[in-house]
């Protein structure tokens, strides 16, 4: 039996019972669209999260005080809230001299109340040098970032996050030139950051107060160590080399001979990206696996209807066998019908999934204002088509073999 005849015959059968065909496909449509929607949303979420990490800056290597004893991704001591004082100015200077490193910046963070008039807000203040803005891609939307001169002169100037500006000064007002108070020190606001959202270490960058490192570290915190040091490799290809240089330099500086006893932890953006990428990929797959349960339910629906169809068309099977159809011809005919049902259901499911993903993208970007990408991964489409066809075969094979096994005489006698 020719493929064209199989397809034509199946089309005629499905067309004849349009409503039944549509209802039968519904399970597959729902299953496939769920898989598509969840895989697309998973992909978009992954893109969003990775973009956030990439937004930290380019070719960054982050050095956190305190070592990790239990492997690469266990939390360093500093990240667990333990005060570690191992990173100091001497380290920053030593790193800055290495040719594999293009720039070094450091941070000393603290918590305090920021106030303007009657308005106040609990904030993280981040004491940073002037080059921090460039290295970490912090854009000042209004005003200007403080300068090396401000840092060296211990000027009481601050750059604040956009949402903090709204909270303290009211939406739409211009805080540049106004004074805020943090830890009993009056700071002149010289700039407001462009909105960026929650960044590394879970800090909401839009609520930050950035002050000169000299002022923050010495006058506000009274310490001589840093919360972290960030270095920038010369380019993306030398990040690994720069990372090994950082390790060597700091071990020398800290007189460490056994790398297992490092009192610092180095993480590159790539480490973070790959870790987050792995987590979000697993989450996406997990969601898709849950959605695929509905595909199984849809497949059982198809099998059920195909079994009914085999019984209803017993006489047709008898007739076809009497005019020369072999068991294989009958098997193929019923199998093609179920595959066609699931295939068409799969195509409708992909289209429906695309519509929902598109609508979600519109709502998230236009209404919620989040920089959400429209992800419609080709892999999800291919998997959907493949899975729907395989579902058709898997759940169609039993009814089809039942049909093929029918004796022509008994089939012809069937009333």
């Amino acid at each position: 039996m020719r493929i064209s005849d199989l397809v034509k015959s199946s089309q005629a059968t499905l067309r004849h019972g349009k409503m039944r065909s549509l209802l039968t496909m519904l399970g597959i449509v729902i299953g496939i669209s769920s898989v598509i929607i969840l895989m697309s949303i998973g992909q978009s979420a992954q893109d969003y999260i990775l973009a956030q990490v990439q937004g930290l800056g380019s070719n960054l290597i982050i050095i956190i005080p305190g070592g990790t004893n239990n492997g690469k991704f266990s939390s360093p001591a500093a990240a667990q809230g333990i005060i570690v004082t191992s990173l100091v100015q001497q380290d920053v200077d030593a790193l800055g001299r290495d040719p594999s490193i293009s720039a070094v910046t450091e941070e000393a963070r603290g918590q305090a109340e920021a106030s303007f008039g009657d308005n106040s807000e609990s904030v993280t203040f981040d004491s940073v040098p002037a080059n921090f803005f460039t290295i970490r891609n912090f854009t000042v939307a209004n005003g200007y970032p403080f300068t090396d001169n401000d840092v060296q002169s211990l000027n009481h100037v601050a750059v604040i996050g956009s949402s903090l500006a709204s909270t303290l000064f009211g939406p739409g007002s211009n805080p540049v030139g106004q004074y805020i108070e943090v830890k009993n020190i009056q700071f002149r606001v010289v700039g407001v950051l462009a909105a960026k959202g929650t960044g590394a270490f879970g800090i909401d960058q839009d609520s930050l107060v950035l002050v000169p490192i000299t002022v923050g570290q010495k006058q506000m915190l009274g310490i001589n160590y840093f919360s972290d040091i960030e270095v920038q490799a010369n380019d993306a290809y030398t990040v690994s080399f720069a990372q090994s240089r950082v390790e060597t330099i700091l071990e020398q500086d800290h007189n460490i001979t056994d790398p297992a006893k490092d009192d610092f932890t180095i993480e590159t953006q790539q480490d973070v990206l790959s870790l987050l990428g792995n987590i979000t990929s697993i989450l996406t797959l997990f969601l898709a696996a849950i959605a695929s349960i509905s595909l199984v339910v849809g497949g059982i629906g198809i099998m059920n209807i195909m079994l009914v169809s085999v019984i209803e068309r017993t006489k047709e099977i008898g007739l076809r066998k009497s005019v020369g159809a072999t068991n294989n011809d009958i098997l193929q005919q019923f199998l093609v019908e179920s595959v066609m049902l699931t295939f068409i259901g799969g195509i409708i499911g992909i289209a429906l999934g695309g519509l929902v993903v598109g609508a979600a993208w519109l709502v998230i970007t236009k209404i919620a204002g989040i920089a959400w990408t429209f992800a419609f991964p080709l892999s999800a489409v291919l998997i959907a088509v493949l899975v729907s066809s395989v579902t058709g075969i898997a759940f169609g094979i039993y009814p089809a073999s039942q049909a093929a096994r029918k004796s022509p005489i008994e089939a012809l006698r069937y009333e």
């Binding site: 005629a12 007739l319 076809r320 020369g324 072999t326 011809d329």
Partner: protein, 236 residues
Amino acid sequence: MIDVKDLKKDYIDEGETTSALRGVTFSINKGDFVSIMGPSGSGKSTLVQILSFLDRSTGGSYTFNGKKIDDMSDIELAHIRNKSIGFVFQSFNLLTRLTVYENVEIPLIYSDVPPSSRKKLIEDAVHAVGLDEKLYVETAKLSGGQKQRIAIARALVNDPDIIFADEPTGNLDSVSGAQVMSILDGLNHAGRTVILVTHETNTAEFADRIIRLRDGVIESDEPVKNPRHSKDEFFK
């Protein structure tokens, strides 16, 4: 053409054996028109099912066109049914969701005739039963007589050697029945072998010979003295 010797068929149901055919022997030559008659339970349906390759005997031998069919595979039998046999059933067995064209096309699908060559064969077969104007009509919309004529067209489309007609007039009024018999008669006159199963003597007498069965054996096998031949215009 057909040569059966001591043909037997036993059915075993829940350990109990029922003999539908108890040793039947006869021959049918090419171009013969043979009626098989007998009361219910006489074994005539079983005999025709075996002769038309829908079932297998449990004893004796069956030779068709010089070939023993007892050892043939199911696929070979399906191939013979497709190429050499045309069926006409009492209940027409048309697929009512399909058009006349599509129904008549079914045997061609299984004989691997390319779609481009089918149209002429289908038109010729439908023309042979005088229903050219119904070619693209859904068979659900046809009368009983027209349905049976389309079933004959389907039986003819692959140019078979032999036509088996099982009670072809059983569901028809007398006028339609006469039309159908005249077509079968015409086909026989054109050289085709026709085997007719019927319980109506009038219909059986269109044949040249009547084989009567009773209790699984041949009761009589005699020529018809004055076969009724159609004067109908259908096959002139």
